[in-house]
């Protein structure tokens, strides 16, 4: 019994780290640009497909697939920001939201056109390999995804904290006008921030590609999951995203053990409703501008 619980907790924590990475992408975009990326789940699914095809075509390890996803999605995010999102940054929130709903429809449509609606079983066999650590048995795919996510979150955190670009990014997030006055290249900062956000989603998608069947319809769930995670931690907060990811990962794992499957899927939403009502800025939330 103890071993069962430990296993469930461990797999929850591991998946939670990946959720943390997804949420981090969302929170960076929101924190810096104050736009709510409602197409985030589609970006995760892009990552899942990149992971799927990289393994299928070239048989590369998942880590390499994740690196490809990072580069591809960074470029994608950068271009998306410069070409489209930029025009809506100063607009009222609901216009932005509608634009992003449009983008998410566009992307999910593109995925459907490109890959069809049928789920594709994971190309990588990684999920069947396990590692045993005393009482806990972990599957390799999850472990690898979690370690890579954890590492990335740490690196990204250090980069934003200590590098000169990280400083300008945080400055832009704190005070856009102030940043402009001291001569920051705000448009570039925004584009890079959006690129980083998209890259986080893409990497997370590639990392979990051995665990999920690639399918366009996953996107909505991932979008909402990312929002739940971010809201739990507080929109715009770095450590909040990580914490939120862990909370949601563990809560989902425990719920899977205790409730029926439909209750399990409902849990994140219930959590979101409760948290929104009682602690709308999350636990580490930045102030709304």
């Amino acid at each position: 019994m103890l071993s069962l619980w430990l296993n469930v907790l461990a797999s929850g924590v591991l998946l939670g780290l990946v959720y943390g990475l997804v949420a981090l992408g969302l929170t960076i975009i929101f924190g810096v640009m104050r736009v709510v990326n409602f197409a985030h789940g589609e970006m995760v699914v892009f990552g899942v497909y990149i992971g799927y095809w990289a393994v299928r075509l070239w048989d590369v390890p998942i880590i390499a697939a994740a690196a490809i996803a990072a580069v591809a999605m960074f470029i994608f995010g950068y271009l998306l920001e410069t070409l489209i999102v930029r025009r809506f940054v100063g607009r009222p929130h609901h216009y932005q939201f509608i634009v992003f709903i449009g983008l998410s429809l566009l992307f999910s449509g593109a995925l459907l056109v490109a890959f069809g609606p049928d789920p594709r079983p994971a190309a990588s066999q990684l999920a069947f390999h396990t590692v045993s650590l005393g009482l806990v048995t972990l599957d390799l795919a999850r472990l690898q995804a979690a370690v890579a996510s954890g590492l990335l979150i740490t690196l990204l955190g250090a980069y934003l904290r200590f590098s000169s670009f990280g400083r300008s990014l945080r400055a832009a997030a704190d005070n856009r006008l102030g940043g402009l006055i001291i001569g920051l290249n705000i448009p570039r900062v925004y584009a890079v921030a959006f690129g980083i956000g998209a890259a986080c989603a893409g990497v997370a998608g590639a990392l979990i590609s051995p665990l999920f069947d690639a399918q366009p319809y996953l996107a909505v769930d991932f979008t909402l999951l990312a929002f739940v995670t971010v809201i739990v931690g507080g929109l715009g907060s770095f450590s909040g995203a990580l914490l939120g990811g862990l909370v949601i990962g563990v809560a989902e794992a425990v719920a899977a053990l205790m409730f029926t499957p439909s209750m399990k899927t409902a849990l994140p939403y219930a959590l979101l409703i409760i948290i929104l009502i009682f602690r709308p800025r999350g636990f580490f939330g930045a102030n709304e501008s």
Binding site: L106, G109, L272
Partner: protein, 324 residues
């Protein structure tokens, strides 16, 4: 305009009738959403919750107990209105607003969808089916052929448009627009914005439930994923956004533009075996409209008529500015 639409219903072929029925129903649903964002200033992306509650109220009473849909519609209005009011009360009580409120509406809708898909009594995932349609018209049970439903939808759309116009010219309309434009200022003028926000959401939710109930009758079946899913919430908001937020005719113009486009694209997609074309069309239209015509098609038409001095512009209602 309504004379034209009525003639369309009476004369045209079955496909056009059923397509226009959906257009008119979504005009009504869009109008309810429009009331909430365009006039009340509250963004809901979970309107499917209210639509679904209305549909299930009608469905459960009709299918399980054989009670007339008229009662079902009333029950739906009451249920959805109260759920909307409670949701609004909770969120505004705790200062949840803007995008946070929008997220709350999605979460509530998704939560309800999952609950209904697991609830055996209402058919769970297998859905609820109304008795097979007979062609005999039955006003008490709201049952009839496609043309009958067309006129029901037409009546609803007309009611929705007239209702919105009435509301927006009344005291409430002025109060709500003031609240939308600047809540602080409205409060300073003595408007109890808290109550008014709850009121506008409850009314919008109740209207959406009526639309949902009729939609369920038209479709003849209720499935949780299609009546309460994100997809429906998006369908509801596309019309008014494209047509013109906060305008009286926006939802009609928008639905007339978008729904035939959507149907054409999915038909095209089906025949080419490429699913997803309709999603792409929706996405592109939404982005382009917000980009180039941020206040929608209808105000643009009105501006155009003014610019070229069309003599009959006299009776074109003036669009009210939707944003700041």
């Amino acid at each position: 305009m309504f004379v034209i639409l009525a003639l369309v219903g009476a004369l045209s072929n079955p496909y056009l009738v059923s397509l226009m029925t959906i257009v008119l129903l979504f005009t009504f649903l869009g109008q309810s959403w429009n009331l909430m964002l365009g006039i009340g200033g509250q963004l809901s992306i979970g309107h499917a919750l209210f639509v679904g509650l209305g549909a299930y109220s009608v469905g459960v009473l009709d299918v399980k107990f054989g009670i007339s849909p008229w009662i079902g519609l009333l029950l739906g209005m009451f249920v959805a209105g109260s759920v909307g009011a409670v949701l609004a009360w909770l969120s505004f009580r705790f200062e949840v607003r803007g995008i946070y409120f929008a997220l709350l509406t999605i979460a509530a809708a998704e939560f309800a969808r999952i609950m209904f898909s697991g609830w055996e009594f209402v058919g769970a995932m297998q859905g609820l089916f109304f008795p097979a349609p007979t062609n005999a018209m039955d006003m008490a049970m709201l049952r009839g052929d496609a043309r009958f439903y067309y006129f029901v939808a037409l009546a609803l759309a007309a009611l929705g448009i007239a209702g919105t116009e009435l509301i927006s010219r009344s005291y409430l309309g002025y109060v709500w627009r003031a609240m939308r434009d600047d809540e602080q200022a409205a409060r300073a003028l003595g408007v109890r914005t808290f109550r008014h926000k709850i009121l506008v959401i409850a009314i919008s939710a109740a209207a959406a439930a009526v639309g949902g109930g009729v939609l369920a009758l038209v479709q003849g079946s209720i499935f949780p994923d299609s009546i309460m899913g994100m997809g429906l919430s998006v369908d509801v908001l596309v019309g008014p956004v494209v047509g013109g937020l906060g305008t009286t005719f926006g939802p009609l113009v928008g639905s007339l533009t978008v729904i035939p486009l959507n149907h054409a694209m999915s038909a095209l997609g089906d025949s080419l075996r490429i699913p997803g074309l309709n999603n792409i069309a929706y996405g592109v239209v939404l982005i382009l409209v917000v980009w180039f015509l941020p206040d929608g098609i209808w105000p643009a038409i009105v501006r155009l008529c003014k610019a070229i001095q069309v003599p009959w512009r006299v009776w074109l209602p003036q669009p009210r500015k939707a944003e700041e």
